[in-house]
């Protein structure tokens, strides 16, 4: 492909990127990798009634799902409930489980749907919870617990908390599908193919969503990136 690019220039560039032959790492890996995904095997045990296998999956992935949900709702307690809901849905549907993708893809698909439904039901904009310290009650403004001035890196910590709060606010302004794609890809580390499966869309659409999300973030956070 590289040789073709050098010889024919821009036409080859378009062909190389837009041709169906051009697979992402995720797609190529996803096709083969779910068969060797150990979590799929564990989930098959859950399907056969092994409750210990389900505990194993919960212990392995619950924290990551809580963090994912937390980025959506900015509320630790609600994020935990959403994560539990996701696992409960999977438990309820265990008898109908048919492996078609990696377990994490399946898990985040369920979690994403729950988070998007939650966003549709409630307006979470501005309902911030500090990144450190106690959770906030509903409707309570985000009052941060200020770091101890005696601690040497207190200023850095304060700056870090403020930056985190600001980034979270920018993330909250993104359209839900852009936010989902960005978080799944950048924070949770899913491949484009897996993100596409989670959001029930195409890889091209995922690329576009992530591109627009990153453009917005770069514009809003330009001073931090300078």
């Amino acid at each position: 492909m590289g040789a073709k690019l050098e010889s024919t220039g821009r036409v080859t560039l378009l062909d190389a990127i837009e041709t169906p032959m051009a697979k992402t790492v995720g797609q190529a890996a996803s096709d083969a990798s779910w068969r060797s995904d150990p979590d799929v095997e564990v989930m098959q045990r859950v399907k056969k009634g092994d409750s210990n296998a389900f505990r194993e999956l919960f212990a392995k992935h619950a924290d990551a799902v809580v963090n994912f949900a937390y980025r959506f709702v900015n509320n630790r307690h609600r994020a935990e409930e959403l994560a539990q809901d996701a696992f409960l849905q999977i438990y309820r549907a265990r008898a109908r489980y048919e492996p078609k993708a990696r377990f994490t893809t399946y898990l985040y698909r369920v979690a994403t749907n729950l988070c998007l439904n939650e966003l549709r039901r409630f307006d979470y904009q501005g309902r911030m919870e500090p990144l450190e310290g106690r959770p906030l009650a509903d409707g309570e403004e985000g009052i941060r617990e200020l770091p101890d001035e005696e601690i040497p890196d207190a200023e850095d910590r304060l700056a870090g908390v403020e930056t985190g709060t600001r980034i979270q606010k920018v993330l909250d302004k993104l359209p839900p599908n852009q936010k989902s794609a960005l978080l799944l890809s950048r924070v949770q580390g899913l491949s484009y193919q897996e993100v596409a499966e989670c959001l029930e869309t195409t890889e091209s659409a995922v690329k576009s969503l992530i591109f627009r999300a990153t453009q917005t973030l770069r514009e809003e956070l330009a001073d931090l990136l300078a």
Partner: protein
């Protein structure tokens, strides 16, 4: 310029190593010759670093796992109770039970007239000798003796006789009325020398 538009959509994936080699090669080649896209890539890499640094992972609360265990246990209990309900319904819908139920229904319809005729003789004594007295005992003193006589007598049926409106308005009297009617007919039948064996 058109190349830059195409490449920049791919840059987030390039920065994260999420592109396949077929796409990476042309992107890399373009970056070598385009300072604008290289600057774009640099900005994306800083953004990635900022996102990962400024959005630290939270740790679920101490009760998170135990709360989920409780919900899961409740779910399992609910599942068991639903399963037992399904078992019970499944037993009801067993193939052999359906013809049996149908046969029972047909038998009930066929023998309904017989049941109607014998309905008063099934519980004659308690209904007549109730604690508050009855129409029979009020209107026919000494009817106990006649009742005993009736029980030993052949069954009398009368076609086309309707209870009076008072009885229809007070359903609790209906059974007593039927007894009275039988007794009356029995008496009158004896008087006339006519009786109908049931």
């Amino acid at each position: 310029m058109r190349d830059c538009e195409i490449i920049r959509v791919e840059l987030p994936g390039y920065a994260n190593g999420k592109l396949g080699p077929d796409v990476v090669a042309p992107v890399r080649a373009h970056l070598q010759s385009c300072p604008g896209c290289r600057a774009e890539l640099s900005g994306l890499e800083r953004l990635d670093a900022l996102l990962l640094q400024a959005l630290p992972a939270i740790t679920p609360s101490a009760s998170f796992a135990s709360r989920f265990a409780n919900r899961l246990a409740a779910e399992a209990r609910e599942g068991e109770s639903q399963s037992s309900r399904r078992d019970w319904l499944g037993w009801l819908l067993q193939p052999w039970l359906i013809p049996v139920a149908a046969a029972a229904l047909i038998a009930a319809v066929m023998f309904q007239p017989w049941f109607a005729d014998h309905s008063t003789s099934v519980f004659p004594v308690p209904l007549i000798g109730g604690p508050q007295g009855s129409v029979a005992s009020a209107k026919k003193p000494g009817s106990d003796a006649k009742l005993a006589e009736r029980n030993s007598a052949p069954k009398v049926t009368v076609a086309g006789s309707n209870p009076p409106s008072e009885v229809l308005q007070r359903p609790e009297l209906f059974v007593d009325y039927a007894v009275i009617r039988d007794l009356d007919i029995l008496e009158s039948g004896r008087g006339n020398g006519e009786s109908h064996a049931g």
